[in-house]
């Protein structure tokens, strides 16, 4: 008997899709596997060891870069998320106002302009400020990161707000709640998953940035990714794999958590 005819099937498509998933994950899996290599090679397996993790941990440059990366990502996520919450409150759940398109274009500019162009622009601009003020601290990097993280923080918060009912807040207003009280007791608790998702996204985006950081940083301000970029010019040891694996793990955990956070919005909420 012939197999039942499947309308969905296209010859070779499932094979291609399978191949695609293999291609997507195989390089990453190999990268992770060789971070545990006993030997110096990134292609010949010589047995399991934590050697490269230990050596990365003991490397002072890596330590400094890690701390710097985390500090920048923390402040950038905090600033970007705060700005994004306020901006989202101003731009959603109301009729279009004059200047809406302008505001929307401003917020999304970091997504549309190629990173290299933004990087060059910031290099020029910050060079001017550095000459004027003499300040060369981490502030430039934090400001730059806050800006390009802003649209990423804004998107989930806006999505969450759009899905929220105005009637609860209106009821609270009718009961003479002050705007601040209404925001804190009604809006904020409902908005919280969106804020968390936005902050996490901003944090990951900041942590992963290479191009803008590479152009904006002053001497001795390497973050983990720019440190790794510098290392790749030389002969690479699995130490870079070890650092990569840790960064990958952080990203994957954050993305999966983000996925589940933004999914809860579809289910009916209890409160």
């Amino acid at each position: 008997m012939a197999k039942p005819f499947e309308v969905h099937r296209q010859t070779g498509f499932a094979t291609m899709a399978g191949l695609c998933f293999v291609v997507l994950y195989l390089p990453i899996v190999l990268l992770v596997v060789y971070s545990f290599n006993q030997g110096d090679s990134i292609a010949i397996w010589e047995g399991f060891s934590w050697r490269w993790y230990v050596s990365a941990w003991d490397n002072e440059q890596v330590q400094a870069a890690t701390v710097r990366s985390l500090v920048i990502a923390f402040w950038a996520a905090l600033i970007a998320t705060t700005c994004a919450v306020l901006a989202a409150l101003a731009t959603t759940r109301q009729e279009r106002f004059r200047g809406y398109t302008f505001v929307f274009a401003m917020i999304n500019q970091p997504l549309m302009v190629p990173e290299i162009v933004t990087a060059v622009a910031l290099l020029i601009f910050f060079a001017m400020i550095k000459v004027q003020t003499g300040y060369t601290g981490l502030g430039y990097l934090i400001l730059a990161h806050s800006a390009f993280c802003l649209p990423f923080a804004y998107m989930p918060i806006r999505a969450r707000l759009q899905g929220m009912d105005l009637s609860l807040e209106q009821a609270a207003m009718d009961l003479y709640g002050t705007p601040w009280r209404v925001f804190r007791r009604i809006t904020l608790p409902q908005l919280w998953p969106g804020i968390l998702a936005g902050a996490m996204l901003a944090f990951v985006i900041s942590l992963d940035d290479v191009v803008i950081t590479e152009f904006v940083k002053s001497a001795g301000q390497d973050t983990l990714p720019t440190y790794m970029l510098g290392q790749m010019r030389r002969v690479v040891t699995p130490e870079v794999n070890a650092i990569s694996t840790v960064l990958l793990a952080i990203s994957v955990v954050m993305v999966v958590a983000f996925y589940f956070l933004s999914r809860t919005k579809k289910q009916p909420t209890g409160g």
Binding site: V7, H8, R9, T11, M16, A17, C20, F21, L24, P27, I28, L30, L31, S41, I42, A43, I44, I79, C83, A84, L86, A87, Q94, V103, M106, Q109, M112, V113, P114, E115, I116, V117, T118, V120, L122, I124, F125, M128, L143, A144, S146, A147, F148, L150, Y154, V204, D208, V210, V211, F215, M228, L229, M232, V240, S244, L247, L248, V252, V256, Y259
Partner: protein, 303 residues
């Protein structure tokens, strides 16, 4: 008696702009403002040791396409720049094509899974996309370098004696860009295929069409907006790529992003760098306009 409505409206408008102040401040200082300064710099005279002299000049824009001979003052096309432009456009188009070859069947495969499973399959596509671009590029570099996995494997199997030089070639850049931007192709194609009405496909088969004919005449036309959107989404970041050509091209195969960097490093020609940046930006904006038309047209059609 004062009219209440306009007063409230005005108060609302003021509150709205107050709420927008922090975001707009950050963006003016670290996004749009600096971009305007790039525009100004592109019309200034290059300084001797980097930076600029505040004298207006069109030299920066001029040097994007032309060069003047140092000795004879003769004018000619800047071959070095044009070949880098051409390589960037060529590799970006090829990247989009390669991503389509892998991305379309994958998006189709996911769109034909049971509804409750699709999100999870898509998550598998999205996870690599949100992980560090540098790390994914590095993973490709490790795979194809002379002492990397592919060459080691081929030598052990006795297929080749000498490692094949793959790293630091155009092929490496193409492979790397297709790899890192593949999810950008899958997402929009999936979005358009997911809404595809499979009764149309069934009708095609009932009328004795072959699988290939149904694919070409029914499925593909309906997925076309997604394909156009995906191609542009891949093309745009490829054109401005900096990390991937730097790591995989190794400073030999420059793309636009690297040429721009060069002007702020060894080249020491900031106005030229600024003009090149704005040229790239202009190309990207045109591509994005097409994208908005493709994506917007699709929305309009589906109501």
């Amino acid at each position: 008696m004062t009219d209440v409505a306009p007063v409230t409206a005005r108060r609302q408008a003021r509150a709205r702009w107050l709420l927008l102040v922090p975001a707009l401040t950050v963006l003016v200082f670290a996004a749009s403002g600096p971009l305007l300064i790039v525009l100004i710099y592109s019309f200034l005279t290059p300084g001797d040791y980097g930076g600029v002299l505040w004298e207006p000049s069109a030299q920066g824009w001029f040097s994007v396409v032309f060069e003047r001979d140092f000795f004879t003052d003769e004018l000619s096309l800047a071959d070095a720049h044009l070949s880098i432009f051409w390589r960037s456009v060529k590799l970006s188009l090829m990247t989009a094509a390669l991503a389509f070859i892998f991305g379309f069947p994958t998006a189709y495969f996911i769109a034909t899974r049971p509804k409750e499973k699709r999100d999870l399959w898509m998550l598998l596509i999205i996870i690599p996309f949100w992980t560090n671009l540098l790390i994914r590029t590095f993973a490709i570099a490790e795979l194809i370098r002379n002492e990397g996995t592919v060459n080691t494997l081929l030598i052990t199997m006795g297929v080749i004696d000498e490692p094949i030089q793959m790293l630091f070639t155009e092929f490496a850049i193409l492979l790397g860009m297709a790899y890192v931007y593949l999810p950008l192709m899958v997402l929009p194609i999936y979005a358009s295929l997911e809404r595809l009405d499979f009764s149309l496909v069934e009708a095609g088969y009932d009328l004795y069409a072959t699988r290939w004919r149904v694919l070409r005449k029914v499925i593909f036309p309906l997925a076309k907006p997604g394909v156009i959107a995906g191609s542009i989404l891949v093309f745009v970041p490829s054109l401005g790529a900096y990390v991937t050509p730097r790591v995989l091209g190794g400073g030999k195969q420059l793309m636009l992003g690297n040429l721009i960097e060069l002007q702020f490093g060894q080249g020491r020609n900031w106005p030229l760098g600024a003009a090149l940046s704005l040229t790239l930006l202009a190309i990207v904006m045109v591509a994005l306009l097409f994208y908005v038309r493709a994506a917007g047209g699709e929305e309009g059609r589906h109501g």
